[in-house]
Symmetry: C2
């Protein structure tokens, strides 16, 4: 049909499988195994649904203010969106408008090249070094912008802050986005670098450490000017993005710091236990600071292990893709879920 000539044709991102069976152990999409902060359930039950007839606050003030207070920045330094994917995609559109290619690691979050293609942004991938670490020198070549996750996905490796600073310092003429989706599991945020660098944008999410993937909340922190540009583009798209429950319940979740520390602490402890067990079973992996482990077995192909676990109703993530097709990305679940996983692996590999 002729109208199809003008259609933007893209290869859509394929998200991790979301099986509908309830009895499975779901370790494939890096969700949090614990529920959101208790106050969320309480307020949710009392939500004033009459107010749903009105538009939500287009400035997302409740959640922006809660985050500003928590992270010790001004509200004008915080931007909130529909998950960090929304925030990141908007950031690509807003900040990556050079003819020079933007740079990101070759093994990284698989949405970066999808957004670049969607917005027709030229890009160049910088191969990870042999130890899976980010090639800091490679990030210093001429470019139109830089983005990388810290910790990186799906490796889980944390890039130390002095290296992060080196990358930002070398790229003062473009925006450097540090995607900190997994920062709360033992990494160190680049937030203190904001005082020195106006070209830094930090993006985080409520989907992992704040146990609210189902509410779709992400945010960015930067200097006031960079956040203003992001808001201008946001208001060109859709003034009202976060719906009322996300704004109300999200703000509440940020305020319960004790609960947040408790669940992230538990996930870290479970991850360290899982690392030991996996090592004992013959797996190797980069030393993850995220809520997942990216593991390869010394003799059994990842795909075989993946299929076996699936048969046991344990879902982990596998990509049939060059360089990473012998690794499994295993989300850290509860202690019990991880014991079940390890027991299943013992049967299969033992």
């Amino acid at each position: 049909m002729v109208w199809e000539n003008n259609v933007r044709k893209v290869v859509p991102y394929v998200a991790g499988e979301q099986p509908k069976k309830k009895e499975i152990i779901k370790l494939n999409t890096n969700e949090c195994p614990y529920p959101p902060a208790p106050a969320v359930a309480k307020l949710s039950a009392q939500m004033d649904t009459n107010s749903f007839r009105l538009y939500p606050d287009q400035n997302n003030e409740s959640i922006v203010n809660a985050l500003a207070e928590y992270y010790g920045v001004k509200p004008t330094q915080v931007f909130a969106g529909v998950g960090s994917d929304d925030v990141l995609s908007l950031s690509f559109l807003t900040f990556f408008n050079s003819d020079k290619p933007i740079l990101f690691p070759d093994v990284t979050y698989s949405f970066y090249d999808v957004w670049a293609d969607l917005y027709r942004i030229p890009y160049k991938t910088v191969p990870l070094l042999d130890d899976w670490s980010i090639d800091v020198e490679g990030m210093k070549q001429e470019n139109g912008g830089v983005i990388f996750p810290n910790p990186n996905a799906p490796t889980g490796l944390f890039t130390p802050l002095d290296k992060v600073e080196e990358i930002i310092e070398a790229n003062r003429d473009v925006v450097v986005i540090v995607d900190e989706a997994y920062i709360d599991f033992g990494g160190e945020s680049a937030l203190p670098l904001l005082e020195k660098y106006d070209n830094l944008l930090i993006v985080q999410t409520f989907s992992k450490s704040r146990a609210m993937a189902g509410m779709r909340i992400g945010f960015a922190i930067g200097n006031e000017k960079i956040i203003k540009y992001l808001n201008d583009v946001k208001f060109s798209f859709n003034s009202y993005t976060l719906n009322m429950p996300s704004q109300i319940l999200g703000a509440l979740a940020v305020k319960d710091d004790a609960y947040f520390k408790d669940i992230t602490g538990k996930i870290i402890a479970t991850r360290e236990w899982t690392k030991k067990e996996l090592t004992g079973l013959g797996f190797t992996f980069p030393d993850s600071k995220a809520n997942f482990i990216f593991a390869s077995h010394k003799s059994v192909p990842a795909k075989d292990i993946y299929n076996y676990l699936r048969g046991q109703n344990i879902f982990v993530r596998f990509w049939d893709k060059e360089r990473i097709n012998n690794s499994l990305r295993i989300t850290i679940g509860t202690d019990e879920q991880m014991r079940t996983l390890i027991a299943a692996l013992e049967v299969f590999l033992g």
Copy 2:
């Protein structure tokens, strides 16, 4: 700062004022004066917040299925997004990729030119005729796509279906988007035309007739191929957009047809009463089939009336913009709200 050279600079859309005072009469953003369907409050109070830790269904199946059943189409013909603004903006990106300008009326929803600018889509506006109706002949000139609201905003005028069909028929080589945000207040949807035209995309919203602006739900209906293209682009942005409460409560709202008919019927009746009263006060307006009236007074400038009403805590919408700067867009509220409005106008104009 050098990094600013690559920033996408836009003139953001300015949405209707959202005053924070509670005691005002808010007739400025076309929200519904009645609460959402009763089942929404009931289920909201029982929401399983533990499941918020998981990603929502990326295919929005519950809401897509409910809409497909309600409108008698296949689920593969329905696309859901974060308000109709999200759906429309994605549609611009997906379908308007020609070098030829897209066409829309000169007086219309003020986001169209914002999206065109954002995505660098060439566009040409087609002036409304003297009676505020859409210039059907003007919509037949060479173009890269067509979009218009039906009823149009802010005029409220409905374009009869034979005229709509004439526009679609004359533009078989591009996508024609009919933005039916206000269709449920006495207009007639173009849905039956889908059987004849594969280049037609119909967009609607939960923000007006379904009383859920605060939940951010919009949707599009078209043939399976057009919806597939839209989904491909959506999955390139953000796989998970509608959050859990929107999916669950939105589906529920669609199922209560009796309530839907009741509140839209009440709004229509209130609108017709308001028309008579406004006429008696010396106002003229296009004959609205929407939940608002676009009224000019025979002698008092719109801006003066706007300022006076504001002082009375009654907010209506006014644009200080050529061609429409002597009109007020007045949202239809409850009977009581409209009586208060008319009484205030009587004092000011009498």
